[in-house]
């Protein structure tokens, strides 16, 4: 496998230009005031990876604390119940709002999307920079909330707990509000970019599937995030002015809060997973060297997932006290979501069929994704089905399910995409062997950690529990060991990628034989992306040997 790269690695088609986007201008200030989508993407990347590191450390602490029911480590209690609640809340808030939501769209999407469209930049470069700064402000506020107080509501901020608990809930809620606007600006930018800045000759169905995925995501970002904003405003006002909308002590309705919250946060699940699917739709044809099977079906399924995501939010509330009619309707609608997800899965497998598959690191991640997202998606059926959901909801089964989707799906795809575009972004190749080892370790550790949690949950272990019954101890311990394996895998991956930065530029323009436009420019790209406006000559994923007019 080691020689697959060299066997077909193309040396740069034309001499590497002296000036690229990284060294076109120098100094911190030139980065802070940049409107170059590539630089903003890189800054976002640094930001979200920092958030991922923080959230990951909190996750390791949560798992470490659950190693045994007494929370003992070397004869000392690792953390109290209050601390535990704060740590898992921070893990949730950071991972969801600071990491996963901006991860693929704002970091990788910002970098790649205009390149894929053959554009010079996004539609509104200054808005793009504003979005990044809003993210920074939100992140700083969230960190202030952590340092100068504590928040123990869980990432869902359910009322009336969140309206009555002490701590810096208001500050944290305002931080998330600002992060929401960062996300909205990204969404507006991408929709306008896709509509208006496609290369000459590129029709809607000539766009790479990554663009379709990001476009669908952007629709959700625009349509759902404002409701999160107003929800959090109302929550903050409830805390400060007791307006009586969410707190039952004041005549409000906590179930209404859940409607408001999930009207955003269920679509937000698709803000997280659609870009992951989008990356996989790039990786599989590229590394199978075969055209995408059912391109249109995959494109349509992205959009339909985006739209369907708005009408299923009530499946988070089957036992929360919404009306029984609403419960039945939401359950029925929920099953619709399974269809486009299944279509994508089958089309990916259909693309691999009779391909010419090389297992470089990005493809290893893609196959991990297929397996992990397969489990995540299929266990979703248990939770959409009414009678089993009553037993399984609010248990570790749910925890395992959404980690399989969010981490096994989105994070795996994100890291896969990072390895895929790393040569383009940095101009350097990483060490293939270490990258593959990291991927395999993450895959094994992930299954150790979360497969066990399905059993914990179906046995009846509720989520967000500090103390647990002794009978669950072996499974919890195994899960904790798994988290260490993930940590090790992530560490190897991170060191490997960072180590590559010390080398001189050595990446070819198109190391993987990709067909989309971002591979037609140099690695790293020049400041304005392309020497000449690229014109689409062939549809994406066309691996036929002879150029065929499309």
């Amino acid at each position: 496998m080691a020689n697959t790269l060299t066997s077909r690695g193309k040396i740069a088609d034309h001499p590497r230009p002296e000036v690229n986007y990284l060294n076109a201008s120098k100094g911190i200030w030139s980065w802070m005031t940049t409107v170059d989508h590539k630089r903003i993407g890189v800054m976002y990347l640094v930001g979200v990876l920092t958030a991922f590191l923080m959230g990951g450390i909190f996750a390791l602490f949560v798992r470490l604390s659950l190693l045994n029911p007494k929370h003992m480590l070397f004869g000392k209690v690792l953390m109290s119940a209050e601390t535990y609640n704060r740590v898992f809340t921070l893990h949730g808030v950071i991972m969801v709002f600071l990491f996963i939501i901006p991860s693929i769209p704002a970091a990788l999407g910002n970098f790649v999307l205009p390149l894929m469209l053959g554009a010079k930049d996004v539609a509104f470069p200054r808005l793009n920079l504003a979005s990044f700064y809003l993210w920074v402000i939100g992140a700083v506020m969230a960190i202030c909330g952590m340092i100068f107080g504590a928040i123990d509501t869980g990432w869902t901020f359910y009322t009336p707990y969140s309206t009555t608990t002490s701590g810096t809930v208001t500050l944290m809620v305002m931080a998330v509000f600002i992060l929401g606007f960062s996300s909205i600006f990204t969404g507006i930018n991408f929709v306008a970019t896709v509509h208006k800045l496609r290369a000459p000759g590129m029709g809607w169905f000539d766009m790479p599937l990554f663009v379709w995925g990001i476009y669908s995501t952007a629709i959700i970002q625009v349509l759902a995030t404002p409701v999160l904003g107003i929800t959090l405003c109302l929550l903050a006002l409830e805390r400060v002015f007791s307006i009586g909308i969410f707190d039952p002590k004041l005549g409000g309705d906590p179930v209404l809060f859940q409607h408001f919250f999930w009207f955003y946060s269920h679509p937000a699940v698709y803000i997280m997973i659609l870009p992951g699917m989008a990356i996989i739709s790039e990786l599989i044809p590229t590394f199978s060297r075969k055209t995408m099977f059912g391109y249109r079906a995959v494109a349509y399924s992205s959009v339909s997932l985006a739209l369907l995501s708005f009408i299923v939010w009530g499946h988070h509330m089957f036992v929360a006290g919404q009306s029984q009619l609403a419960t039945v309707i939401f359950s029925a609608l929920t099953f619709l979501v399974a269809i486009p997800s299944g279509v994508k899965m089958f089309n990916w497998l259909g693309t691999m069929y009779k391909g010419n598959i090389s297992l470089e690191t990005p493809m290893l991640y893609a196959i991990s994704f297929l397996l992990l997202f397969g489990i995540g998606g299929l266990t979703g059926i248990f939770l959409g089905t009414l009678s089993t959901d009553v037993h399984l909801t609010d248990t570790y089964f749910v925890v395992a399910h959404f980690h399989y989707v969010m981490m096994g799906g989105t994070v795996i795809a994100f890291i896969g995409g990072l390895h895929y575009w790393w040569p383009k972004m940095t101009g350097r190749m990483y060490t293939e062997k270490w990258a593959a080892l990291g991927c395999v370790l993450v895959f094994i550790g992930f299954n150790m950690t979360f497969l066990t949690q399905f059993f914990l949950g179906s046995k009846g272990m509720p989520r967000r529990y500090y103390n647990y019954l002794d009978q669950y101890q072996p499974l919890h311990a195994f899960s904790t060991y798994g988290s260490w394996v993930i940590g090790l895998g992530m560490m190897i991956t991170a060191i490997n990628l960072l180590a590559s930065l010390r080398k001189p530029y050595d990446a070819p323009d198109n190391p993987w034989g990709g067909t989309t436009l971002e591979w037609k420019t140099s690695s790293p790209p020049i400041e304005h992306n392309f020497e000449d406006q690229p014109v689409l000559e062939r549809a994406p994923y066309d691996y036929r040997p002879e150029p065929v007019a499309h």
């Binding site: 539609a123 509104f124 808005l127 909205i184 969404g187 507006i188 930018n189 929709v191 306008a192 509509h195 208006k196 800045l197 625009v222 349509l223 759902a224 995030t225 404002p226 409701v227 904003g229 107003i230 929800t231 109302l234 006002l237 002015f241 007791s242 307006i243 009586g244 909308i245 004041l250 005549g251 309705d253 209404l256 408001f260």
Partner: protein
């Protein structure tokens, strides 16, 4: 230029959609609380001054008209009229805010305020045995202040935008070939008007 104009328009419309949904959340909240406290909301809305609300509606509608005439003037390369219409729009916006100021100060004097500060009015009928009034009255005014406040904030932002556009227009930066900012601020201004079109009957009129 054409391309950029179209792109900006799409961006602006997307932004307007987020505004609609932002206000929409408040409308949904208002609807649900109205369903919970029908009697309280009915009685509380009698405290709002219908003529002032109607006056403000007319003022905003006229301002929308002057705004669109401004855009038309820009399209027709008529700098003088553009500036005039923009100033007229700003004047309307200021009248709107003045009326709102009088309405707000009336509410403050009467203690028609969100629950924490709401003072029972003689006409409030939903009371418990001890004479305490229902929480619903305050909730109505909480929504009144939140929604008209958020709307008023948009008006205020609009005034600054209009002033900025008017200054640029005065400098002659716009022509029939380039008037995107005028058009976008116009769209924003119409949306603010459009939201008020719903706010007015919801708060002042519906029984």
């Amino acid at each position: 230029m054409e391309q950029q104009f179209d792109t900006s328009k799409i961006g602006m419309w997307l932004f307007l959609v987020t505004e609609v949904l932002l206000f929409g959340g408040l409308f949904v909240g208002f609807g649900m609380m109205q369903a919970r406290y029908p009697q309280e909301f009915l009685e509380a809305h009698e405290h709002l001054q219908r003529p002032l609300g109607a006056l403000n509606t007319v003022v905003l509608l006229i301002s929308s008209f002057t705004m669109v005439m401004g855009v038309l003037s820009a399209q027709r390369n008529d700098k003088k009229k553009l500036v005039m219409y923009l100033i007229l729009t700003i004047i309307c916006a200021c009248i709107f805010l003045c009326v709102k100021y009088f309405e707000y100060s009336h509410k403050f004097e009467e203690h028609l305020l969100p629950p924490r500060w709401y003072q029972a009015q003689p006409g409030d009928t939903v009371r418990d045995a001890a004479g305490n009034v229902s929480h619903g009255y305050g909730t109505f005014f909480a929504f009144y202040f939140m929604m008209t406040g958020l709307h008023g904030f948009h008006i205020l932002v609009g005034i600054f935008l209009l002033a900025w556009i008017a200054i640029r227009a005065h400098r002659g930066e716009f022509s029939s070939k380039y008037y995107t900012p005028v058009d976008l601020v116009g769209l924003y201004w119409h949306l603010v008007d459009l939201i008020w079109i719903y706010l007015f009957p919801l708060f002042y009129l519906i029984k």
